[in-house]
Amino acid sequence: MSMTPSLKPLALAGLLSVVAATVGCSDTAFESSFVYSEGTLSLMREAQAGTKENPGVKTLLDDRFGDPQHLKAWEKLPIDFGGTMTSVETVVESGDGKKLVILTVQEGMALPEKAVSVQFVSGACSGETVQVAKWNPKTGEATLAAVPGKEIAAGDTCAIDRGAGLSSGRMLYMRHCSHCHGTTGDGNGPTARYMTPKPRDYRNGIFKFTSTNDMSKASRSDLSRIVKYGIPGTYMPSFLLMKDDEHHAIIEYVRFLSMRGEYERKLVAELSSDYSQNAYDSRLKSGEKKAEIQKELDEFLAEDLKESAGTLGDDLAEIWSAADTDEAVIVPSVPRVPDTPESRRHGRELYLSKTLNCADCHGIDAAGNGPQTIAFEKNPAKSDELYNEPGLHDIWDNLNQPRNLQMGMYRGGRRPIDLFSRIHAGIKGSRMPSFKNTPHEDIWHIVNYVLSIPFETDPGATGIAPIAAESVAAPAAVTAPAPE
């Protein structure tokens, strides 16, 4: 260095202060952002970003869901964004020009302890948000910090802290959940790489352990159960000690992320067969002109995609709301069959039978090592490419090991109804199919058998002898485990 030694620290300090100044002052220095799915990123550029006139996937998504610092609450979605709906009772002009509004709330609801802002929903001031300078929760008196543009009339509906639930849900999610589940809920947070099984990727809208039937989404109570009790055998811990309002906020935010991911997936599904980058390349190769394809895409974005943007939202709203209804819940038609040795034997018979074929995946001695686990499989979603490792895979492309029932560790819950639901609806997203057409009594026999497996002295000891080998043989070169 040409500088004298005593100037070196000075130069270093100068450089550091410049860096600190730039980084420290930058608004986006430490912002987080939602990632776009692989599907989105594999579309043509114009399909992703859209054109000046017509929005593409990314634009539609950002317009309806925002980014983590500036969230957007799409009212179409069945999410509790937080806030209390109230209506204006009286308006009082206070001395220093500030408006004092007295708010009442519906029957059975309570005024919140704190109020930061008031959004006017109906009336002349509709759409305006005003900060609250002072709030008295007992009387409902809110002193507004600023005067809204128009007149406030008695009877106007307004919401207190609308969106506060989503906002606090996001902050709690970032603190408790995002390091595994990722900012976008893609199951790819910083700690996820060290985990097997991987954390859930919410963006399919599919959650494995539910009490609802196989074609329904997870209900709020299912998500609540998972968050409260954790999933033994995985890295999902229990958040039993979390306060109820925090718990609720996190669940709503998880649903928000899940709906966002699903919405993105549905938008991409509209475009991917004709306008993915691969499709574009193969179309160019087969002789179509670039300009033609662009024109076609423009038309599609202008007409079809814009139209779908609303209907896809409606679909989402419909299926997610349906999950919280009673019709979606699995209710066995008969109470649980008494847990007798005969029932367990019958369960074992059913387990081994060709009607249900449980042993194919779960193995003859229920150790999760059936013949399906050693075959190499093709991925139907990726044009039948072979998976890298043998065995079953779930829709998240993770290795889906059938449960080793000898361990007595039941991820979705160990109550009989939980096991019943697993069998009846299958495990959504995984290779456990639903057996909803099996008589419920038979399912109970199997449940009784499964609950007894960890305590068997020998595999199958509570049941009859297993069925002969060749009916559970694996294809080609793989040999099945010999029964005893």
């Binding site: 390091h179 109570s221 033994p232 811990p237 229990s238 039993l240 066995p332 649980r336 160990r414 305590f455």
Partner: protein, 267 residues
């Protein structure tokens, strides 16, 4: 200048003593009164040591302050006193502390034995649950009501997570295990702490005096979630605990067909 330094080194020990004196009233002290029998004994030992140490501290600091002040206010011209040391003094201040230390170590032996030595556990202590620590929660297994807790799982055992119910007024034992790494079963209010070591089943006993809900936290760094690895210990009367276990049993045998429970709603 010298006087300043003398006062400086006298000031801080004084601050320390005053802080200790006002600490209990400001809540900088124990996490609440001890809620278990051994907790009272442990607190007693703590106070014993505290008193001994305080006396020693005050005495030595006073002597130091005195020497500093004397040195500071001495006439600059006067000659320093050179001492060749005092053999007798050295013997005294070696023997006396060692006696004190031996006294301390002997006086805590019985409490240590009561807590740690299995043969010294109270005879009437009953095994109520097996607590398995795992990253980052506490899994609880109660024996089937009416049966004994064994180290193996038995059909009919009841399972829960992050909430341990124990009866008050009698010594209870929990078997502490861990599924993955080292954790520690630490209840500050009950003054119970025991490391959970992978591969071992360690019995931990305590006798809760009062009904209440106490914290159970992890006290051995076990990963990123160590700081929030909390659970509740709910101490109730034996009757309430039995009732709770019955409810847990009913919940665990839930088959979804009872009309009000069919919705499996826990919110």
């Amino acid at each position: 200048m010298k006087k300043f330094w003398a006062l400086f080194f006298f000031f801080w020990p004084t601050v320390a003593i005053i802080s200790c004196l006002i600490a209990p009233s400001r809540g900088w002290w124990f996490p609440g009164a001890p809620m278990s029998r051994t907790g009272i004994q442990i607190d007693g030992l703590f106070y014993l040591i505290l008193i001994i140490v305080t006396i020693t501290f005050v005495a030595t600091q006073y002597v130091l302050a005195y020497a500093l002040w004397m040195g500071a206010t001495k006439d600059p011209g006067s000659k320093a006193f050179f001492s060749h040391g005092s053999h007798k003094l050295e013997i005294v201040w070696t023997i006396v502390p060692s006696f004190i230390l031996v006294f301390i170590s002997l006086s805590q032996l019985d409490v240590l034995a009561e807590i740690r030595v299995i043969s010294k556990f109270p005879e009437k202590a009953t095994k109520v649950a097996e607590v398995t620590a795992r990253q980052f929660e506490w899994r609880i297994r109660y024996p089937k009501p009416g049966s004994e807790l064994t180290t193996e799982e038995n059909p009919g055992d009841l399972y829960y997570v992050n909430e341990l119910h124990v009866p008050t007024g009698k010594p209870v034992i929990i078997n502490l295990r861990t599924q993955d790494v080292q954790h520690a079963f630490f209840s500050p209010q009950l003054r119970v702490k025991q490391d959970a070591v992978p591969g071992l089943v360690i019995p931990v006993w305590f006798d809760v005096l009062e009904v209440g809900t106490y914290d159970l936290v992890c006290a051995e760094l076990c990963g990123w979630g160590h700081y929030k690895m909390k659970a509740r210990i709910v101490a109730q009367s034996q009757g309430s605990v039995d009732k709770y276990l019955k409810e847990l049993e009913a919940e665990q045998n839930e088959d979804g067909t009872k009309s009000e429970a069919a919705k499996t709603d826990d919110e």
